[in-house]
């Protein structure tokens, strides 16, 4: 039995909309083991992206605690959380969120600027990860010159380049055609298998969720019982 890597206890979150408090997540408890590939599913507005943001440290919970790799992220300050994200979290977004004015290589290199590596080391490392996602030939291309699938593969390389302990993916295939979606999911599966990365993926797509080891359903802010 693998050790728990992500431990979420009694997490609640609500937003204020039009002067009214709208609960989004209620008393969520979740454990993700080391090396696990978890898919979070649920209808729109069920709170799955909010839960992912809380895990990734880009949103804060109203109550409860989140512990990732032994660090209680809910007690970190904003600055500590920023530094922690830089070292520990790789992000894959639905709309890739690449920086349009940078080439594929530079986009992958960007997170390494914060790692204190030399320019040569950064370039080599970024090129290696672009090779890993089969984009060695497209390194000097700008995002606008790449297809959606290629952009998402660049985003995956960017997420992996700092060797994070956890990858979070928010609808990574949501904007892709079926073929590209298969490629991206295959790549994520490979990263999980070969690099033992913990992956938490939010998706609507049952075919995408099938790649995960564990699928959890969120409905109206509540997480269904473990399978």
């Amino acid at each position: 039995m693998a050790e728990p890597f992500v431990k979420i206890s009694n997490i609640s979150k609500s937003y204020w909309r039009g002067g009214r408090q709208v609960p989004v997540l209620a008393d969520i408890d979740l454990v993700v083991a080391e090396g696990e590939f978890l898919a979070l599913m649920g209808p729109s507005g069920s709170g799955k992206s909010t839960l992912l943001n809380l895990i990734a440290g880009i949103d804060s919970a109203d109550t409860g605690t989140i512990e990732i790799g032994g660090v209680e992220t809910t007690s970190l300050t904003e600055a500590e959380l920023t530094a922690w994200r830089s070292d520990n979290v790789g992000f894959i977004f639905q709309f890739y969120n690449l920086i349009p004015v940078l080439t594929a290589l530079e986009n992958v290199e960007l997170p390494l600027v914060l790692q204190g590596l030399s320019r040569k080391e950064r370039k080599e490392r970024a090129a290696f990860f672009l090779g890993l996602v089969n984009l060695s030939e497209r390194m000097e291309h700008y995002p606008s010159q790449l297809s959606g699938g290629e952009q998402q593969r660049v985003a995956i390389a960017r997420a992996m380049v700092t060797d994070p302990s956890i990858l979070v993916a928010d609808e990574p295939t949501g904007d892709l055609d079926r073929h590209s979606a298969e490629e991206v999911l295959g790549l994520m599966e490979k990263l999980n298998r070969e690099f033992s990365k913990v992956i938490i993926m939010v998706t609507h797509d049952p075919r995408a969720a099938e790649k995960a080891h564990v699928i959890r359903q969120l409905e109206k802010g509540y997480l269904n019982a473990s399978p």
Binding site: S49, T50, N53, A56, I58, D59, A79, T82, A83, R85, S86, D87, F91, F93, Q94, F95, N97, I99, P100, V101, L102, E106, E109, L110, P111, V113, L114, R119, R158
Partner: protein
């Protein structure tokens, strides 16, 4: 390097908007620089004043003159080094629009005191020898195409009639702050003709030009001179050259204030334009800054990127504006030289241009940067959708 690339590329992502903002900044800085130079030109006489020079005039008004006999009494006053005198002549050349500063002065002592006028020794000697001799500044001579030896006839206004002079020399300024558009001739020439034409105006000086031993003595010497002539028929008012020049300029101070205000308003307008450009740019890119924050870049980096972008735009415009200020000032000088004989873009103006650009860059960036750095990441990322 990557962050610099983002900064520069972002600055020119919306080319038309950026080019228009740069153009606006160029025009604003050009206008600011020229307006500041106009103000400087107006005060040029004040700036060029020497601290060890006094001017004595009639206490009632400059319109009234002083007896020439005062010269000797002033010369004997403690602290006085040299004395010269003169009259504002107020003539024009051929047509009334050809107006320029022209004065009758005691030539030898005048050149000794006003040593910033540089004259060839041979020309100086010729000028001092001939009572009809005159000298003109380099710019004035160039304006009318005068050469040494030319016979020049001026038409008098205060002293009516045609006045013939022989141009004996063309002086240049010791430095660029010296007015090179003045015409000077022998006071004796004027006085002799007045003795014949209008004896009441003979043996009168419009002002005395005094060099004192040291600037610190200015107040004491002024008091001494004025005390000598107290309760006489022509009481004197003695003041430093600077104060004398300022008394002219102060008459137009409201206009100068208005010009300065306009120069500030021009900067305020471009500040609003630049702030609008930055606000639009950052709003469009909020998700990109959020992505960078997600990757671990802090609020400081976001601020630097946005301020840097703002600075690239404003300083590109400002540097173009500064570069254009010099030819524009040259054009101004050639077209309006008779009104602004000293029209120099000063170093202070350039520093003020750069300071204005910095303020515009900062003010334009501060609100968008604050927004980009503080909008919750998840909320900013949703804007990309």
């Amino acid at each position: 390097m990557l962050l610099l690339k983002i900064l520069f590329k972002n600055a020119f992502r919306h080319k038309l908007r950026t080019v228009l903002t740069i153009l606006g900044m160029t025009i604003a800085i050009l206008a600011f620089g020229i307006l500041r130079t106009v103000v400087d030109a107006w005060y040029a006489g004040v700036e060029a004043s020497q601290a060890n020079r006094l001017i004595t005039r009639n206490a009632i008004s400059l319109m009234f003159s002083l007896p020439i006999s005062y010269a000797e009494k002033i010369r004997q006053t403690e602290g006085v080094e040299k004395v010269s005198w003169g009259n504002w002549f107020g003539a024009y050349y051929k047509e009334e629009r050809n107006f320029f500063a022209n004065m009758a002065v005691e030539p030898k002592s005048h050149l000794e005191i006003v040593d910033e006028l540089v004259l060839d020794p041979a020309q100086k000697s010729e000028y001092l020898k001939d009572r009809r001799g005159a000298i003109a500044g380099r710019k004035l001579a160039a304006r009318f195409g005068w050469k040494v030896g030319d016979l020049i006839t001026l038409k008098g206004t205060i002293y009516p009639g045609d006045w013939d002079f022989v141009l004996k020399g063309i002086y240049r300024g010791r430095d660029e702050t010296v007015d090179e558009s003045v015409f000077l001739f022998h006071w004796d020439y004027l006085n002799e003709r007045m003795k014949v034409q209008n004896p009441l105006e003979a043996d009168q000086a419009g002002f005395y030009f005094i060099e004192i031993q040291s600037p610190e003595m200015a107040a004491a010497v002024s008091e001494r001179i004025d005390a000598i002539f107290k309760n006489s028929l022509a009481e004197t008012l003695t003041e430093t050259e600077r104060a004398f020049q300022l008394s002219f300029v102060s008459m137009t101070e409201a206009i100068m204030m208005a010009i300065q205000l306009v120069s500030v308003v021009v900067i305020a307008i471009i500040m609003a334009v630049s702030a609008n450009t930055m606000a639009m740019s950052v709003r469009e890119r909020l998700a990109e800054y959020a992505t960078m924050r997600t990757l671990g870049f802090g609020a400081g980096t976001v601020f630097i990127l946005i301020f840097g972008e703002s600075a690239v735009i404003t300083f590109t415009g400002a540097l173009a504006g500064i570069a254009l200020t010099f030819p524009a000032a040259g054009l101004f000088r050639s077209e309006l030289g008779q009104y602004f004989p000293i029209f120099i873009v000063k170093g202070t103006t350039i520093w003020l241009d750069l300071a204005a650009a910095l303020v515009v860059a900062l003010v334009s960036a501060v609100v968008p940067a604050f927004r980009a750095a503080t909008t919750p990441i998840n909320s900013a990322l949703r804007r990309a959708v």
